[in-house]
């Protein structure tokens, strides 16, 4: 009985210690590629992310198949030919916010996340600049960055080369709720 109490006390303490986590299940990540021939844009509304405000570490995870394109054939090609989502189902980022800030305090913060991104099975260091608006209980992160396709070994065949830009602009907006 005494042990049980200890265990429960520890579990409760454990939950309290987790109070510094902010989680998001339905973050949005979109990308846009512009060439003279064709504009390509896609949106993923099921991006998961966690920020630990104790140490300002961040993780982002999304399914490649959750990107929605207006043209479904393009979506199929994106999954089947370019990102090979059967082999590499998810894209992730993990890293740390460089600035020494306490995101639990309401306010607007310019942040720089330094870490690694894994896309198409290739992991590379990346630095992402963004903005966090905190209300104390909720955080909103928005950022934009560029991805070079060659960096992640995403092959575009010569015949469709003109249709797809070599550098893709990625935008993200994620709403976190305190756990």
């Amino acid at each position: 009985m005494r042990h049980l109490i200890v265990v429960f006390a520890l579990i409760i303490l454990g939950f309290q210690a987790n109070g510094q986590l902010y989680m998001a299940q339905n973050g949005e990540v979109s990308f846009f590629s512009k060439t003279p021939l064709e504009d390509i844009d896609a949106l993923n509304k099921q991006v998961g992310s966690i920020i630990n405000t104790d140490n300002n570490e961040v993780a982002v995870q999304m399914r490649v198949t959750s990107f929605v394109f207006p043209n479904k054939l393009m979506q199929e090609h994106f999954n089947e030919n370019y990102l090979e989502s059967d082999k590499f189902p998810s894209a992730t980022f993990k890293g740390k916010i460089r600035e020494v800030i306490d995101l639990k305090v309401p306010g607007t913060y310019a942040v720089t996340a330094v870490g690694t991104a894994t896309i198409h099975g290739i992991t590379r260091p990346i630095e992402i600049k963004g903005n966090v608006v905190s209300t104390g209980d909720q955080l909103t992160l928005s950022c934009q960055f560029d991805i070079k396709l060659v960096d992640y070994k995403i092959d575009i065949p010569k015949i469709v080369f003109a249709k797809i830009a070599e550098v893709i602009r990625v935008s993200s907006k994620i709403n976190y709720v305190k756990k």
């Binding site: 995870q61 043209n71 090979e84």
Partner: protein, 309 residues
């Protein structure tokens, strides 16, 4: 017990300093709870002649141009190995939803119009082993009455109802690996009028098909339809051999941007079920083989996201 308490303390300590890897693991665990649907079991909505489980996405239109040249054994001087003549089918299919399409087409052979619909009932996922699609079609023959069939029989129609053929199929497919997908399709075909009294109005067949991806944009596909016909009884009662054969086709799918090209060899000249399942006269053994191609172009009527916002 002490060890357990220590372990719990350890966990407690760990939870306070959850690092980026722990956070990512948490996200991955969360993600594993979601259903994963299998994508692109086949490249196109049809193998070669028959249909696959695939449907067209919502508000997307597929335009099909299908050609079958003459038989390879029809002579070089007479018919340039069949390339002098061609049968064609023009078709269109439109996605009412992501799982439901309607389509129509018109074939040169017997001047036939066809109307069809496909509905995807089950989708393969990490919880469902197969994709199942229901497929039904109606074919309307608009030939002048009293024409001669390839089997030699003369076909006469007294009214329009006699010109209709109905077809129902259950398409069951599984994507086994990212390269290999297989499908079976039990089929029933009903001709309102048959060419002679010895034929049954209902024809049952079992189809089998598959594709193997050679590269990301090139795949090999084949399909075979086994007709369930009692040919011995047919021979006994009618005094002639059953004139129709099982259909076998093999070819390549080549995908380029918005197009799918299908190049193939088949012993069937027809491109709809009534013709290729019910009225195939050629055999591979006699090199009654037709070279052909299908060309599919997809159009999207979905507005761009940036216009929506």
């Amino acid at each position: 017990m002490k060890v357990k308490i220590l372990f719990l303390f350890g966990m407690l300590y760990a939870s306070q300093i959850l690092g980026q890897d722990d956070l990512l693991n948490m996200l991955n665990q969360e993600d594993a709870k979601k259903i994963t649907y299998t994508q692109a079991t086949f490249k196109g909505t049809r193998f070669i002649n028959g249909q696959t489980v695939e449907t067209v996405a919502k508000k997307h239109l597929n335009f099909w141009i299908s050609h079958r040249f003459g038989a390879l054994n029809s002579g070089f001087i007479d018919n340039f190995l069949g390339l002098d003549e061609a049968k064609i089918r023009l078709g269109m299919e439109y996605g009412l939803s992501d799982v439901w399409l309607v389509g129509m087409g018109r074939s040169t052979i017997e001047k036939t119009y066809d109307f069809y619909s496909k509905y995807k009932v089950l989708r393969q996922s990490n919880e469902m082993p197969i994709t199942l699609t229901m497929y039904g079609s109606l074919a309307t023959n608009t030939m002048p009455t009293g024409y001669i069939l390839p089997s030699g029989n003369i076909m006469r129609y007294e009214n329009n109802l006699q010109r209709q053929t109905y077809m129902g199929q259950i398409l069951i497919a599984r994507k086994f690996t990212d390269k290999l997908s297989l499908q079976i399709m039990p089929t029933i075909l009903h001709n309102n009028k048959v060419e002679s009294v010895y034929f049954d109005n209902n024809l049952y067949a079992l189809g089998m098909g598959g594709r193997y991806k050679l590269t990301n944009r090139l795949s090999l596909s084949a399909e075979y339809y086994k007709n369930i016909v009692d040919t011995k009884t047919f021979l006994k009662t009618s005094g002639a051999a059953y004139p129709y054969q099982d259909s076998f086709s093999i070819g390549f799918d080549i995908e380029t941007g918005g197009h799918v090209f299908q190049l193939h060899f088949t012993n069937s000249k027809g491109m709809i079920e009534k013709h290729f399942i019910g009225q195939t006269t050629g055999t591979w053994a006699n090199t009654d083989i037709f070279y052909g191609f299908n060309l599919a172009r997809t159009f999207s009527f979905e507005p761009d996201q940036k216009n929506k916002q």
